[in-house]
Symmetry: D2
Subunit: 368 residues, 4 copies
């Protein structure tokens, strides 16, 4: 790792130095110049690789888990996405976990709480629900729901619903890396009836430009636990009529905590993005790790010089500092990408940086 | 103003003291004990009185102004509401101004800016619009629009609209009292075409739980300049399904700045309130001055022991620390009250205080 | 008040209009164009006038109050400063009150609380103390102490001290104007022994760049109730070594709430300012009302074109939007000005505006 | 990793499942129940171990580096502390790096910037200085200085100084883990003369309860780059006179950003702690990783059931969720511990949790 540049380490091994390094080891110490260039890189080099997970590939395997394990034995029947560069921490990209969970009508999962923050994005089925700290929410396809850090939460599917599959997104790898993860099983296995009306948090907090006059909320996450698809899609189209959009992202809106106007949770942000018919964005790169799920339509993304074709319900990731651009393959329909990411961490710690791809009119050349 | 209570001033005039007071006057000074009990009252005693302004009374006079003065001569054709206790400062209550403005199709008002913050609530007519710093907004009945402190703004009615009347609410008396009011006529009399799409600010910022990902806004007021009636009423009904409401106010939501979750402007707050069919609230009182406009339905309010019957488009005020309660006169329809107030000032300066009316099951006795 | 300018009211009285105005009065209303130019001035025109109160003039009168009234009868023996333009609200300038209070050794004032925020700046004497919500503070000359909005507070002078005089500064006129003033006498007349060490709040919060690790404070005012002269003067000199200072104010530091870095109280800000030997500042003007007390040295200020010579313990005021500049009359000693003001109100409500005096090298011409 | 508890994974391997797991691997996926109990632990189990680095052991090796490598070749001559559990990321504990750097009189290091945040705590020597974004600071023993995220910084020792050794603390491992580290060598190798007075930032911002009136600072870190020992120690003693202290930490103060009252940088917090003569604290544990340097005195800490005796300049670490308690070995002198940590990360992401050691009167039993 020697570099012949002023300010960088460039020390040749000598017998004397090797002996010195041995001495240092005895005191749980080392010489910085032996690792300096490695631990102070010129720019981030992600160990995650870009991956596309096709729903067509995974769906049958997700469904097979129902035959193979009971929910009681498995805890939850989930197939998680395992980035080839992050198998040691079971992450889909960076420090983010993603899994596909399946539940049959009438099933209920046990209630628990953990320090990790979680979200769900519904892929298919009807009758699913989630209960967060006593607040029950009904869930349809493309709805987005939070189960934040420290909350009691449980999932289920009504007896008269259909088989449901959703994506679970969590920061488990990050919270483990920070050595701050706690897990508790609910003492009664299931939460009690709370008396809150169904969907009360969205009805209370999910209103445009209005807020209960006597509202108090000081927790670090959004009280609007559920963000429904229809008003979300409607918002994107309204905003599209008022903006030129971003050259890199088209029409991109963040899901926000209505109390602060900021990210929905302290460690995970989420967005929904609309690519207009025929829209092809330019490439840029930035710090932070990103998991996308195709909410609508079909298209492609070029990530780190590799092209991935996607359609509805496919999942793909963009590692930190990887060039990426997106395209809508349809000339008549819009395409929508749901995304969750670690931007609250990256921004909150002052580590966000962004760069436009300058060459080739902003488009990467794609490896053959 | 003598009071025989420990800690209060209780000094009798004597010839010696009178001579002393004369001496002090020569040095632009006085003896505190001669004014202490007056300037340190036990509780606020508003100089404003409760008033109900009936739209039926005022409408014809507002319309007459069109015949009597030209917009060029008058600046704007506005009838302002003059609280009997606040005629010296042309206030409707406390330090808040209110006026009813009329405009005919095809008329335009000149553009200007001032340190005072302003709002409009549309009473009747079609085709009205407001332009704030280049952002044009179309306005229908019961829409609520901001023209904040320091913004260029102008109003007009389209040639194919109808006669429009709206309520203007401002903090002119407050800003004058604070000796901080500036006024500028726009150098071109009318703002230029800006290129912003019509209603862009509401389409951009008026979305439930979503916000443009690259948004930046650091001004002290809401970028969502217009709050439309339909989503507002819809929000109240959704919230009503999730809450028991307030014993004093029924279903009360504040219009908020989506960036902060707080008040829409730095000096004026606003709310919309729904009284359910047959709902009769209990009395309470609090600091701050309030102007209500009936947005929907009919009912009554008891303010300071006096009962006022109101119907749609009527305006009434509640002075600081006056007991007040509201009732919906219909058993089948809900009633809605728009309100603007000085709560951002009162709360921001640490002066908010509230008290429930304890006697008589929470209801004031009304003077015969 | 007619003005022949586009956008301003310019309506001639006619018999018809006069009749119309009469009609409007019957409905507690008026025509805006009859008052518009008055209530929407081009710029603020303060009703306060610049005044200098010489300590030499006032001191004997302050001391005489001791012979003339007992503390029991007077509540407190205070001579308040009465701006000729603000006698109706007993203000020294704008909405700020100022008074000189005297106490003899062994005297104690009764404890009370009010919605108004208060401060004291010690002028002379030894042995004074203030108790705020149980926290006792010893006070020497030029110490600055807060008794914020809603706190129980009482003053006294130790039996072995000397006659003490201090300036009291309050926002009583503002809180009265906002109709939000409450006053309570302490139920036990005097606060109980609290067990807090003397001067604990300053020892806890008055440390440079350090703060108790487990500290919690969410009130709207600074927990550092007392700001002592010596570290204040020391800070000014340190800062003077690191800055060129302001052309308008020399070396100007705000007293701050260590929790927020902002103003010490929600309605009153305070600062200490050092004019270097021979320093003569340039004129500027801004919104907000200001009361100065000379803490050290002698010099002059030109306010609104009038020159005032001051020396230690003199008090003077600068009304809103009045041009002002200051000069240190000594070529060898520095001069210090304590100041309190309504900047938290003006800034918090978005009403601060500032302008440099451009003519005559930045210096006003002084009326002969 | 199977656990026979409701809500936990408890699935036996079967041939069918093994085949299924193979299938999943082909799609970069896995079955959650095979890793769930591992990635969702009941409580954090740090991979770092408690270590004490004795200055007496390390000092000679630090000095030897001067003979062994030139600053040009080494970049900087630093011996870093290598936790046995964290050798893969060159961390002293958790995601924190620590190193001992030596410089001879007349030496200068090259200027650079990086995304990692850094601090120095001076161990011995005179004449050291640091320049941060053009602001030069002189440094004496026990002074604490920041070189925050993104700032240009360089170090040196004056020609007439002595050999200097200091501790460098950084979040390099964290910023690398977050894949957000950038490194830039200053284009001119050394920063230019800036014209700022020496130590200007501390003189400007390091004042108790006072702040420049016209100050603006919006960066994510403290503008008070240097915190000197003398006022720090003085503050601890003042605070000690006003508080009973914490049962777990004695007199503990955080170094703070005077703008926000919060942590000095976005990723690293720092504190100084005073143990009164004879003080023995009780044990507690909390999330977050901590590196201590003994600033004064001698004593011991029990960390994770192991006792470490320390004296001035020794360094030790407390891993996340490890029980720890401290004792001052002197009955007459106080002892002081400097500490830096990742609390801004842990707290900012909502992951702080704390627990008192309940047994044995709060004291751990120590392994023989």
């Amino acid at each position: 790792m020697r570099e012949n540049i002023i300010g960088r380490a460039n020390v040749e091994d000598t017998p004397e130095l090797k002996a010195y390094y041995k001495d240092l080891e005895r005191y749980e110490a080392g010489a910085l110049w032996t690792v300096a260039n490695k631990i102070e890189p010129w720019a981030p080099q992600s160990v995650s690789v870009p991956v596309l997970w096709r729903y067509n590939d995974l769906r049958e395997h997700v469904l097979r888990s129902v035959e193979l394990v009971s929910p009681e034995k498995a805890g939850r029947r989930v197939i998680y996405l395992n980035n080839p560069g992050r198998r040691d921490v079971s992450a889909a990209v960076g420090w983010l976990y993603s899994g596909l969970q399946v539940m049959h009508p009438g099933e209920v999962a046990t209630a628990h709480a953990h320090s990790a923050s979680a979200l769900r994005f519904i892929m298919e089925g009807s009758g699913a629900y989630t209960i967060v700290d006593g607040h029950k929410m009904t869930l349809g396809a493309r709805d987005f729901v939070l189960t934040p850090n420290g909350t009691w939460h449980e999932h289920g599917v009504d007896g008269n619903g259909s088989v449901c599959i959703w994506q679970d997104g969590l920061d488990i790898p990050l919270v483990n890396a920070l050595e701050a993860n706690f897990f508790v099983v609910h003492p009664k296995i299931q939460q009690d009836e709370s008396g809150y009306p169904v969907d009360d948090m969205t009805r209370t907090w999910g209103n445009p430009g209005l807020r209960p006059a006597d509202s108090k909320w000081s927790k670090g996450y959004s009280p609007m636990f559920k963000y429904e698809w229809e008003p979300t899609y409607d918002s994107l189209r309204k905003y599209a009529a008022a903006t030129d959009g971003s050259p890199y992202d088209g029409i991109l809106m963040n899901y926000v905590n209505p109390i602060t106007g900021g990210h929905v949770m302290q460690t995970i942000g989420a967005s929904m993005q609309l690519l207009r018919p025929g829209e092809k964005t330019k490439s840029h790169r930035h710090t932070g790790s990103f998991i996308y799920q195709v909410a609508k339509g079909r298209g492609y993304s070029v990530i780190g010089g590799k092209r991935f074709e996607w359609e509805e319900r496919d999942i793909f990731c963009v590692p930190s500092w990887a060039w990426h651009e997106h395209g809508n393959a349809s000339e008549s329909e819009d395409a929508c990408l749901f995304c969750f990411n670690d931007l609250p961490v990256i921004e909150g710690l002052g580590l966000y940086r962004e760069e436009a791809y300058g060459d080739n009119a902003g488009h990467q050349s794609v490896a053959a």
